[in-house]
Symmetry: C2
Subunit: 322 residues, 2 copies
């Protein structure tokens, strides 16, 4: 058992999350594009979580966890280990509530990411870039502060928070034949399953995954969780493996996991920037790349596409690398 | 006298333009940003014409000109000389109406720009990169086709079209203390003057201009049009001079023209991409740079900021240049 103790969130948790986080997050817009409809033959509805607080959908789950704490618990603060979007989102939410947050990050993480976390008022504690160091340092932080550990995705509070995204999408786009979201640890996909299986059970749920980090794809085919060691992909938010809670949702509700190669992800990201004039990170673009690889599956359908975030280093864009 | 014959458009032309172009353009969103409100001390309302058809506000003026033609006139087509956004926008509008469009472009213009014009079904006719060649080639095109010349900005139909932008901004943002738009030839600023002087005469109108191409600034101070030869700025949409029609509006209604240096424009553009997660071209960012240079003038005010377009070469971003 993990920290989750397999408490599977239910739809009531989603509606509670929605009221709880509403003052702290953006209701992000749903954009359409004639160009992409023509290109894919489908009718696409892009849910723009790149416009979300902290630049990513994870502000939803983090806000739900932080604002759901009792005052006593909250006073001790929250903690996580993450060099990416979850650390940033948890710092945002804790800053909003005015409680301490500690993020354990490897010494080697870029200064810009550490500065962004500190910018929201959180504390960065550095560890060596190894799992053993990270776990030791993190255990130390929790022992000293009594902070609540908010896992990036394998936490029912986090999944219920992410689940609010597809509620908004469903309301704004109307009934959808399918929804596709990128999959890494499976937090967003699990939230999507939780919501749509309740309010729109006929909507098929697809996950999009980099071929270079296709552990969720192989897990779904195998029927059990396969976790790879250190996969490498430009979609750096999608390297982490499924865990028990997210596996529950993925294995129960996901129709298929569709893959995209590195260059396809980069091309799709470039096209989104060029045609939609929005900044999205590579993880977001995996969805469009997967649709383009499977046009026949989506042609003529109304498809929701979750663009998960927009946090990218503008000075190191993937199409500029040699 | 120019092609305009100084027919000054009136507010009825704007309301007519609005109904005429509505089916062919986007009602672009107005975005807000807590970050930029804090940074500037003002309350900013960003009108996102980077999301406009053809990626730029000029789709408004071009559509108004093209769809206002009689069927006889339209059959002969439209023509312009432009290696930038106007050529693209005119091609878009002509393609929408299904009439011929010819764009005279220098041999030296990037292939990507020629391909974009051709992508909308227009014809590119190449000239030498000199004013004399351009004028000779253009005269030839008009003589052969009888096409209607649509000037990029010194045309009452074009100004009335651009004027629809601030109508939408006024409706969506509510009453504004000030509106700021970038100035090159003055088409957008003239349209803004035309609309706001009628529906919101207390709103102050500012123009933002690159210091490296400050001919409009010097014109306003001098009281007559000063046209520079070939100014150089990263905001390549803003190199052209005022003409009689746009000078009329600028000299009558603009409160002030505010300047920004090259690095300030690039920094503002970077900040907009990073914080708002949208792709805007350098010309758009001159507005924010000018506000940051004149914070005291805007502090505590409700300010509309027109982000004019999003057509940029994603492979050559100004902060990547050595």
């Amino acid at each position: 058992m993990t920290a989750s103790d397999m408490t599977i969130p239910c739809f009531d948790d989603v509606t509670a999350a929605r009221s709880r986080i509403e003052p702290h997050i953006h209701r992000t817009p749903v954009l359409t594009s004639t160009y992409f409809n023509t290109l894919t033959g489908a009718e696409l509805f892009f849910k723009c979580e790149n416009f979300q607080k902290a630049g990513v959908f994870k502000a939803r789950g983090a806000s739900n966890a932080v604002f759901g704490l009792s005052d006593d618990m909250a006073a001790k603060g929250v903690a996580t280990h993450s060099s990416g979007n979850h650390g940033l989102s948890l710092s945002y939410a804790a800053g909003k509530r005015g409680i301490p947050a500690t993020v354990v990050m490897p010494l080697t993480a870029p200064d810009a990411k550490k500065d962004a976390v500190r910018g929201y008022g959180a504390t960065v504690v550095e560890c060596e870039p190894s799992t053993s160091s990270r776990e030791a340092v993190f255990a130390d932080v929790v022992a000293q502060t009594g902070a609540d550990f908010i896992h990036p995705y394998n936490d029912p509070r986090v999944i219920a928070g992410q689940a609010t995204c597809s509620m908004e999408l469903h309301e704004d786009a109307g009934p959808l034949d399918a929804v596709i979201a990128p999959i890494g640890g499976g937090g967003m996909v699990s939230g999507t399953c939780l919501t749509l299986s309740n309010i729109s059970p006929d909507t098929k749920i697809y996950a999009a995954e980099p071929k270079n980090a296709d552990d969720a794809y192989r897990s779904l085919k195998a029927g059990y969780i396969i976790a790879d060691d250190a996969p490498d992909t430009v979609a750096d938010g999608l390297k982490v493996p499924l865990k028990d809670l997210t596996w529950h949702f993925v294995s129960t509700f996901v129709t298929d996991i569709l893959l995209a190669k590195e260059q396809e992800i980069i091309d799709a990201m470039y096209l989104i920037w060029q045609r939609m004039k929005i900044v999205v990170e590579p993880s977001s673009a995996v969805t469009l790349a997967a649709i383009l690889n499977n046009k026949e599956q989506f042609a003529g359908k109304r498809v929701g596409v979750i663009l998960t975030g927009g946090n990218v280093d503008l000075k190191k864009l993937p199409w500029m690398q040699a």
